[in-house]
Amino acid sequence: MGELNRYTRKEVLERLNKKRSEKKPIIASGAGAGLIGKVLDENGCDLIFSYCTGAFRMDGYMSHFGMLPFLDCDEDSVVFGNRLMRVVKNTPIICGIGAGSPTAHTEVLLERFIDGVGYAGVINVPIDPYYPERPGCTRGMFGERCSRDDAVLRKSVENISIAHKRDVFTSAYCFTDESIRMFGDAGCDMFIPHLGFTAGGTNGAVLDTSQTFFESEMERLARMVELCRSVNPDAICVVHGGVLADTDSIAKGIRASRADGYVGASGTERIPVEQGITQVMRELRAIRKR
């Protein structure tokens, strides 16, 4: 029986900054099943994220289901976190915290997440869903309503700010320049410029596959990373989503943007698992009986 896998904000930052100083990429990943968390932990992943889109992703559904009324995202962070804490020995685990929960104050949620479960930090998931130009995000009337006066974004930022004041490690998916500035002001430790839902595999976002689009996404990423650096030169900056779906594009994305690393969810669990199972099934299907 190992001791509890708990990290303070300082310890998480030391762990990540060590990677930066060694000029190695920070590799972080979502875990939608305990086994994924366990295997990531055994294979030297730097940071594990546990949030409500994970279980849907690992059940073969769209990550987007985690943003619809199919479960309570914060309850899921508690239940799933307890399970992950049981099998992840060395890697800090960061949990998703919803924006503006109707059932509990942020302070109460943080007590449950950090003091109760033993999470090492928080991230703004489910994300503010209204970014009309990004694939998979809520558009139309409902999107307008959610984003009225930036309501969801402001609540997300408020969560990060409260967590930061409590000396909890904070990270945030950022879609726009405005959100980078707001999370920066709230004291966010790790920015994650987000290119939208990840392409590739069976449930990926439908994206333009042209080289021109890829190049423009790389430029967009570089601009966002640069803005993160200017907002807070000490903050860690890792990239996520969209065209960053395979090892090659992830490597290009990290280099083009001079980011500190990559956060994957579909890219680090769903797509490799899909490919692995397909290959084993094909080997089995090739077998004939005597």
């Binding site: 590799i27 305990g34 295997v39 073969g60 899909e274 199972i277 397909t278 099934m281």
Partner: protein, 299 residues
């Protein structure tokens, strides 16, 4: 999910065998496994709590411990995968010995979800011997309850799958003419695992009666001979029953190939083979690739 009658399902599986193809079944702990095996034309998907625990990164022996109500958990798993599984017939577990089980209710739930078959999972098979030895009143619990449950499920037109942990149970059950018997080798052992770990069971003689013999991890041919022998004895009693094997040395592709080259077994049920080991390997390799990315070119 799509519900198949016993007859339809039997026919579907028989067609595979007629085409000299083994029956491939997968025990899915997450929907993604079900989805991807379905894409590659799997024959059956099993939904059990053993797979659920493996996908939580825990030992599947937890399925036989008091860390959740198996029947409720299995139903939850069925609900989770209900939409992702479209055409492939599903066999779901029932923990028959649960004193709070209302069998008709559970079967109706499964029927509503279009589950086609039932397996006695989790089974008290692995603890039956100790229970018999240590308690006086075990008449209304044990394997016999699982047999009755499957008989009733079969009457309600569910494809019945009996997983046997003991040779004598497999033969005993064959007399009831189930649709399928899965020879459960109980331990799916990691490649390269220390056989000494498994010999610890020498201290518990009752484990000797189990289907799995630790020596088989090294002596696969011996295992194949034993499987063929058991297969023939089951078929002599019930020629219509499909006989599959799960676990043991058959979590490695090479041993699976040998199984169908050297024995007449009808198919394989892969839990560790098709899910846990694949995930371990794919994620491990992918992490190694990502971690070897150089931050700046030329450095």
């Amino acid at each position: 999910m799509k519900r198949y009658t016993r007859e339809e399902l039997r026919l579907k599986l028989q067609q595979r065998l007629d085409a000299k193809l083994p029956i491939l079944a997968c025990e899915a702990g997450v929907g993604l496994t079900a989805k991807m095996t379905q894409k590659e034309d799997i024959d059956l998907i099993f939904i059990t709590t053993a797979a659920m625990f493996r996908m939580r990164g825990l030992d599947d022996s937890n399925a036989l411990k008091a860390y959740g109500c198996a029947n409720e958990d299995t139903w939850e798993q069925v609900r989770r995968m209900n939409r992702v599984i479209r055409e492939v017939p599903v066999v779901a577990g029932i923990s028959a010995n649960d004193p709070r089980l209302v069998l008709d209710e559970q079967l109706s739930l499964y029927e509503h979800a279009h589950v086609s078959g039932i397996i006695n999972s989790p089974s008290v098979g692995p603890v039956q011997q100790s229970m018999r030895r240590d308690f006086s009143n075990t008449d209304d619990m044990g394997i016999c309850v699982e047999k009755d449950m499957l008989k009733y499920a079969q009457e309600r037109d569910f494809f019945s799958v009996y997983q046997a942990y003991f040779e004598h149970d497999a033969l005993d059950f064959a007399a009831q003419k189930p649709d399928m018997i899965v020879i459960n080798m109980d331990y799916s052992v990691e490649p390269g695992a220390n056989p000494e770990t498994y010999r610890d069971h020498d201290r518990f003689p009752e484990f000797y009666y189990r289907m799995f013999n630790p020596a088989w991890m090294e002596d696969v041919d011996g295992c194949l001979r034993a499987m063929q022998d058991l297969y023939e004895r089951i078929k002599a009693i019930s020629p219509e029953t499909f006989v599959l094997v799960a676990g043991g040395p058959f979590i490695e592709m090479e041993n699976v190939r040998s199984l169908f080259r050297q024995t007449d077994l009808d198919g394989i049920l892969g839990g560790v083979l098709l899910e846990e080991n694949v995930i371990r390997e794919s994620i491990g390799k992918h992490q190694a690739a990502l971690q070897s990315i150089r931050i700046a070119e030329g450095e």
